[in-house]
Amino acid sequence: MATTAMRHTPAVPQAPTGLWSWVTTTDHKRIGVLYGVTAFFFFLVGGLEALVIRLQLGAPGNTLVSAEFYNQLFTMHGTTMVFLAIMPLSAAFFNFIIPLQIGARDVAFPRLNAFSYWIFLLGGLFMNASFFVGPLFGAGSLSVAPNGGWFGYANLTSAQYSPGPNIDFWVLGLQILGIASLAAGFNFITTIINLRAPGMKLMRMPVFTWMSFVTQFLIITAFPVITIGLVFLMLDRVFGTTFYNVAAGGDVLLWQHLFWLFGHPEVYILILPAMGIVSEVLPTFSRKPLFGYAVVVYSGVLIGVVGWGVWAHHMFSTGLGPIADSVFSASTMLIAVPTGVKIFNWIGTMWGGRLEFRSPMLFAVGFISLFIIGGLSGVMHSSPPADLQQTDTYFVVAHFHYVLFGGAVFGLFAGMYYWWPKVFGHLLREGLGKLHFWLMFVGMNLTFFPMHFSGLLGMPRRIYTYGAELGLDTYNLISTVGAVLTGVALLVFIANVLASRRGAAAGANPWNAATLEWATDSPPPVYNFSVIPTIKDGLPLWRTGGMEPSPLPAVPPEPIHVPGGSIWPLCTAAGIIIVGIGALLHHSLWPSVAVALSGALVTVVSIFKWAFEPFEV
């Protein structure tokens, strides 16, 4: 860094090209794209699993897949959608958008950021490899994918009741993925606190950055909790400890408390970024600032805080006792208040506006409409007696898909259509975008609305088959048809991506939006901003004098340093995966130890090289 004085002409860093430049990249924008592409791939994998699940349940007594494979499918569908699709899709936006929204050149720790991505990618591949490696473990089938549910309740996951490698893949894969989330969480908190442009006060930050900020705090506090639960489980399985072994004085409810203490904040980790996206899209297409900005921010913070006090509402059926039931019921209902406030503020944003129903806006409005339904069914089973009937039925499946598909996924698609021109420099096609929206809106409702009825009328979750005597054939068939339609909608989206890839240049601010990411080129130069602007207003592009200089100069007047590339984050991540593979082999002692030790060696050497690497342009 000390050698910069040598140049007199401004140095304008150019983005390097080629595969190697992507493998070693530390540019938050490239890492964002990598996150997005990878997460979308896993989203399609999880969607395919869902489609097979729906085809199996399309008729009573269907035999498309075996019981065992069905159990693997729903376990991996949930695990994939939560950890490999929705969280990393949000992370794609954190990476690409947050530094641009706060006026930074990159995240605080660019190489740690690359490390987060690589460990996410390799961890996801590690877990999904279980579909193909059965013979290596002497299993009678090709697939030994995790089969204990995404919630992995003890003691079904114990070595006694699940002796195969299935649960090992799950328990190790989740620990590996947790590393990615934690590293990214600390990185973004540091970035948002330290790297904001001058004048970008906290209460001038765009709401997406705000909600992401809250999300990072949830991640760094919730993931350690599940890590503890997973470490206990791993020790039980590999070394014969007895944390969850009732016969030896352990307790199966310990897992449930640890899992849901993580699991409920996790719900907000999934939904808050989408709420942030919607809070960006609505003002842009209403031509009006967000109604009650401060209240939207505070209610997001409040949701994050109260979200820590509700976990036992996942456990009403364990018989917690009337006092605990009442307390957790009340705290859960309380969350409806800040959530309702957000919805009203979004409607208030549109009220009096000039609404343009472009693709991002359609998805944002769809989000609100569907999220209302998911919120209302959520209030229904916040009531413990009602929950005793509804929990573990398709009513709950309907509920959380309205929240996570109607909510998070619609929100993320709003974000994709909205920021696509910023990321790739051209817009997605409007006609295909609308077609995508309507197919997905109809398909989604067709899939999940009937599940309210099938659940209330007696359809339990996680069953690979059901009898015709339940009278639920029609509801299930409708859900299956809806799932196929939703699949078609995703194909339309893919077609849109392909069809529009040579579209006309979008320009810096195609939607005439208010926030800072739209002040720079599309796609942004590698250094993001030619000069770091000084922010005078929360809506810098809508207010005269909202930022200085405005517009930004086309060429940087001063030399700019951007972080160079590094291979060591990838090598460190690879070392950790090798340790995981070693742990997977724990049934044969010496191979296991040898692989794990060599992985540890790779990790240590890579961290060492990383630490002493000269890291410049």
Partner: protein, 349 residues
């Protein structure tokens, strides 16, 4: 475009909403199209939960209508029209925001009060005269013990109408959840813990249920049924279950052959029916269901097969095909053995 969007936005949830309201209004239907429904209760606890749910349901309908209407009206009214000017830049309105914070809070209170009342009403305090039944979840079947009556049976729970019943629920292996929705909500069966459900059945009939907590490969096949009988019929059932099993005499050759097959030890693996199943006076195995009065049950293998000759034969030939992962192995039985076992087991009624 805006109008089309609005029409559909409004139409989809409402069109789909009709079926849920219909069963709510119709109530219990004749012929029982939904034998596992949560909306057609036949016990005090189930009814209390149902009444609470209906109350919450109508609050939800109210909120749904108000908020979706507000959304739709906003979308129509403020859609971009040609020549529309720049909107007024409003940042908020304190009075409005306080109102729409308090309104949901008030509705929450309206839901919380009956909720907490119902929590205490269905908490599980059993009156002294309650019929005590121990429920034990197994992978993948239900064991019922009536300690005061000396009955041990499986999968089909018999209860008298009008008498409080107290279920003490636990598990022999992993976590299960006992759920007979017409009677009560679900309660988990956990190893090392005992949980309770208390309710009073109010109508004679047979009600379906099943395990509601994922418990492994054949979770879907862990079904149950509850037969609520008039007190007289229940007493008759108790009497039949508590008489010593009929002795097999030498004139019943097929049944006699079945008893022999039941006791036979088979290679490889030393499999034998007696190792896992109890038939009073014959064997004492406890890993599988007690078969002392198996012939009196209507279904087999926790409700997945009819308990008739065909169903029994299917089960005996290949249990793993009927219930994947089942502890009961598939044993190479001759067709003669199958026929003999069917006759023998049917005679245990």
């Amino acid at each position: 475009m805006g109008r089309a969007f609005l029409r559909r936005c409004r139409a989809v949830p409402w069109a789909a909403g009709l079926p849920v309201i219909a069963p709510l209004l119709i109530g219990a239907c004749s012929g029982d199209p939904y034998p596992q429904s949560t909306l057609h209760p036949t016990a005090d606890a189930g009814s209390a939960i149902d009444a609470l749910y209906r109350q919450i349901f109508w609050w939800a309908v109210l909120v749904f209508v108000v908020v979706q209407t507000a959304l739709v009206v906003t979308l129509i009214r403020f859609r971009n029209r040609p020549g529309a000017g720049e909107p007024r830049q409003i940042h908020g309105n304190t009075l409005v925001e306080i109102t729409w914070t308090l309104a949901p809070a008030a509705i929450i209170v309206a839901i919380a009060v009956p909720t907490i009342k119902t929590i205490f009403a269905v908490r599980g305090d059993a009156p002294a005269d309650a019929l005590q039944v121990e429920v034990v979840g197994h992978q993948w079947w239900w064991e019922y013990r009536y300690p005061a009556l000396g009955i041990v049976t499986a999968n089909e729970l018999h209860l008298p109408q009008g008498r409080p019943v107290a279920l003490a629920i636990t598990s022999a292996d992993v976590i299960h959840s006992f759920w007979a929705p017409k009677l009560h909500g679900k309660r988990d069966a956990m190893p090392g813990r005992t949980t309770r459900l208390v309710f009073t059945p109010d109508s004679v009939g047979t009600y379906l249920g099943q395990c509601a907590e994922f418990c492994g490969e054949s979770h879907a096949n862990m079904r149950l049924r509850v037969t609520v009988q008039s007190p007289a019929d229940f007493d008759a059932w108790v009497a039949a279950q508590t008489v010593p099993p009929v002795a097999v005499d030498s004139t019943q050759a097929l049944i006699l052959a079945g008893e022999a097959a039941f006791k036979r030890i088979r290679d490889p693996g030393n499999h034998s029916c007696v190792a896992c199943h109890t038939i009073a006076g014959v064997s004492g195995g406890v890993l599988g269901p007690n078969l002392t009065h198996v012939g009196s049950r209507t279904t087999l293998a926790s409700g997945i097969l009819a308990n008739d000759s065909a169903g029994l034969a299917r089960w005996l030939r290949d249990p793993l095909a009927e219930k994947p992962g089942s502890l009961m192995p598939t044993i190479a039985l001759t067709e003669d053995e199958v026929a003999a076992l069917v006759a023998y087991l049917q005679s245990r009624n």
